[in-house]
């Protein structure tokens, strides 16, 4: 197999490796979750179209994140206020400090499944219903027979538990969330 034949497989492996961080970065800056997937796909498409220009001596993830940054800025410009209700200066500030995102997403990848399995059964069921059986709090509220605000508050509590568990997971995986 020549080098050209290997390029797509190499690209796919690399892009899949950077995907959690890429998605998290875009999610931070984009208000509408349904737009996140579209932007991820556009970034992947653009990365592949320009893959021949990628300098392998540089980190691939930094290259892709640069493309993502540009795409997010375009999106914000096009969507104006609808892109995110946060002010631009705050978004820039969050973005400028986002070097920790790789570490954070890696921690989440490592620990999420374990932390989910340690949630109380009712919370675990709520997470699965909200994220695997529905695409919004409204849809989940119909499935569970609870109000949207009840689900939102429960999710906040669960998020806090999960973040604590994820943090403690690296210290010792025995900790209950």
């Amino acid at each position: 197999m020549d080098q050209r034949d290997e390029q797509p497989a190499e690209f796919v492996n690399r892009i899949l490796a950077v995907q959690p961080r890429l998605r998290a970065y875009i999610r931070m800056a984009v208000f509408n979750p349904s737009d996140v997937g579209d932007i991820v796909q556009e970034v992947v498409t653009t990365s592949w179209e320009h893959y021949a220009r990628y300098d392998p001596s540089r980190p691939f993830d930094a290259w892709v994140m640069g493309i993502a940054r540009n795409r997010v800025h375009e999106y914000r410009r096009d969507q104006s206020r609808r892109a995110s209700p946060l002010t631009m200066d705050v978004l820039h500030l969050i973005e400028s400090e986002a070097d920790d995102l790789e570490h954070t997403t890696a921690q989440i990848e490592d620990a999420l499944e374990s932390c989910l399995s340690k949630l109380p059964a009712e919370d675990y069921q709520l997470v699965r219903t909200r994220y695997e059986r529905s695409d919004s709090n409204r849809a989940a509220s119909k499935l569970l027979g609870k109000s949207e605000s009840t689900i939102s508050r429960a999710l906040n509590r669960i998020y806090a538990r999960l973040l604590i568990c994820i943090k403690q997971y690296q210290r010792g995986p025995e900790v209950q969330p």
Partner: protein, 549 residues
């Protein structure tokens, strides 16, 4: 480097609530202004915000898989669905059914036996994506051919059909039964195993098991085979091509394409397979060691706040240790610390020292440089084979090796039941001094083959089925075993062919008839010696026969 927020510092309820409202697209202008102010004022708040949204992203991504299953797709959506499925990397055991275009002709997998592991599905989808990337110069919609392929795949969740799936998803289910959880690995063999809490055959993400005694073999959905040696504690991860070894020893064998890149997470380092067999020893609390028997691995220190990640690649015959918060330290390679294949332990010859590796069943290939290592690698090629015809050997216990006599003149007779071993010596660095090695097979040695000609002549009947053996041109004259075998250069032939420090290889059978004594010279540069191989025929004393171990 910072990381997820420190739980010891209480997250203000207001920040949590506002982040939740942003996540749920329910935030008002006033609340957005308040959230902006909080984030602007505090780096800790911004760090929490990033972690909160990264968690939202990860959870939302889990849902992509199910959403894709339930979406009525058209061609424009097809490739997006494919990509979503791949990106989701959702752990699910699914069944793939290829829908035949003609419903009267069932697709090739359309049966109750069509269950595929999540790893196989991911592999198939990955293949399709690679194919798409290769063929698509521009946009998603351009990949019509691949979209058509995607649309032929009916992904049916846990054996139901789409109708059943829709029914299951449709009505409100206030106390739904837990969705089936996908297995990420299976318990495939046990050898005197005593568990703290015995696992079932299927192993799931998040499960943690302690093996108190004996050994157990776990095979991941990606095809990595892990042999655990008690006492050991493992944890299954969502990624089916990784495992966490909290304590104990394991040997990893990663010979499938999908298992390349398999990662063993340990308290002190993460070990990534690069196509190999390796051992990880996390029995000591303070350090973890990795020993590479074959191929290469990459070791990396774990990501901890404030620490940079150290990475180092190791090739066969190398070993490395890492402790808490410390970098790497080279340690002596010692394959004898590990049981490589418990099923073949009965065949393992006794040997001492660190210059011999017992690798069990020979699989793959033995071409030059394919299995380089600074150890003598010992494989078993055949077990319990009854010879159908006499096979030539170069010497036996009664007729010692005479390098200057014609080789291949002795024979092991037809009807004898033998186990066949191959000793393989293909150096990476070379040795300054000749290596003295003794292997005790515990059973009578019936014949030994040390020359290229006799090795070539017996590969077909004594070699492991399916293995690629090296093929070198024959060497004229006196130079012993040729490129493959042992070399003995008579004193009168010394001259411009022989380096001054050259020492002849030697092989003798002990008076007991069960031990093979070797002296191998590991110098490089001789035009006649690419590698050293020795084939040993031992009287079989077991009921096992050839076949999968």
């Amino acid at each position: 480097m910072s990381d997820t927020p420190d739980p010891s510092r209480r997250v203000p309820a207001e920040l949590l609530s506002l982040c939740g409202k942003l996540r749920d697209q329910a935030i008002t202008d006033a609340e957005a202004q308040r959230l902006s102010a909080l984030l602007k004022a505090s780096s800790e708040a911004r760090r929490f915000f990033r972690a909160f949204m990264a968690l939202a992203s990860a959870l939302e991504n889990r849902g992509v898989y199910e959403e894709a299953l339930d979406t009525e797709r058209d061609e424009d959506q097809g490739i997006a669905v494919l990509f979503d499925l791949l990106l989701a990397e959702r752990q699910a055991v699914v069944r793939l059914r290829v829908e035949a275009s003609n419903e009267d002709q069932p697709g090739p997998c359309e049966s109750g036996e069509s269950s595929l592991s999540r790893g196989e599905v991911a592999g198939a989808l990955r293949y399709l994506l690679v194919k798409w990337v290769r063929s698509a110069p521009a946009r998603w919609a351009a990949a019509a051919a691949v979209v058509a392929l995607v649309l032929t795949l009916s992904v049916v969740f846990m054996g139901g059909n789409r109708g059943e799936l829709a029914q299951r998803r449709g009505p409100v289910d206030p106390s739904p039964a837990p969705l089936p959880t996908p297995a990420v690995a299976a318990l495939t063999a046990e050898f005197g195993a005593v568990w703290e809490r015995r696992p079932g055959q299927d192993l799931y993400a998040g499960q943690r098991f302690t093996l108190n005694a004996g050994m157990a073999e776990v095979t991941t959905a990606s095809g990595a085979v892990l042999l655990l040696e008690a006492p050991a504690t493992i944890e299954l991860l969502r990624n089916d091509n990784a495992i966490r070894l909290h304590a104990g020893k394991l040997v990893g064998v990663c010979e499938t394409q999908r298992s390349e890149g398999f990662v063993v997470h340990t308290p002190h380092m993460n070990i990534k397979d690069l196509g190999t067999r390796f051992g990880v020893d996390a029995t000591a609390q303070a350090t973890t060691r990795v020993h590479v028997f074959e191929g290469r691995v990459e070791a990396a220190t774990p990501r901890h706040a404030g620490n940079s990640v150290h990475r180092q690649q190791l090739s066969s015959g190398m070993a490395l240790a890492a402790g808490a918060g410390t970098g790497f330290k080279p340690v002596t390679f010692d394959p004898n610390r590990f049981v490589i294949d418990a099923r073949l332990e009965a065949y393992r010859p006794d040997f001492a020292g660190t210059r011999v590796s017992w690798l069990g069943q020979l699989v793959g290939g033995l071409e030059q440089d394919q299995r380089e290592a600074d150890t003598l690698q010992v494989f078993i090629e055949r077990r319990g084979t009854t010879l159908e015809q006499p096979v030539p050997v170069d010497f036996n216990a009664d007729q010692p090796w005479d390098p200057q006599a014609p080789l291949g003149q002795h024979a092991v007779q037809a009807g004898v039941r033998v186990d066949v071993y191959l000793l393989h010596f293909d150096l990476v660095e070379g040795f300054e001094d000749p290596q003295q090695l003794v292997l005790d097979f515990g059973r009578p040695i019936l014949g030994v083959i040390v020359s290229q000609d006799t090795l070539d002549a017996t590969d077909a009947v004594l070699g492991a089925p399916g293995v690629g053996y090296p093929s070198f041109p024959r060497l004229p004259g006196l130079y012993g075993g040729g490129h493959r075998g042992l070399n003995y250069i008579p004193a009168e032939a010394e001259g411009d062919l022989v380096q001054p420090e050259y020492t002849n290889d030697l092989a003798t059978i002990s008076p007991s008839g069960t031990r093979l004594q070797l002296r191998l010279w590991g110098g490089h540069g001789e035009p006649w010696s690419k590698m050293d191989q020795v084939r040993v025929l031992v009287r079989s004393g077991r009921d096992d026969t050839d076949g999968p171990p």
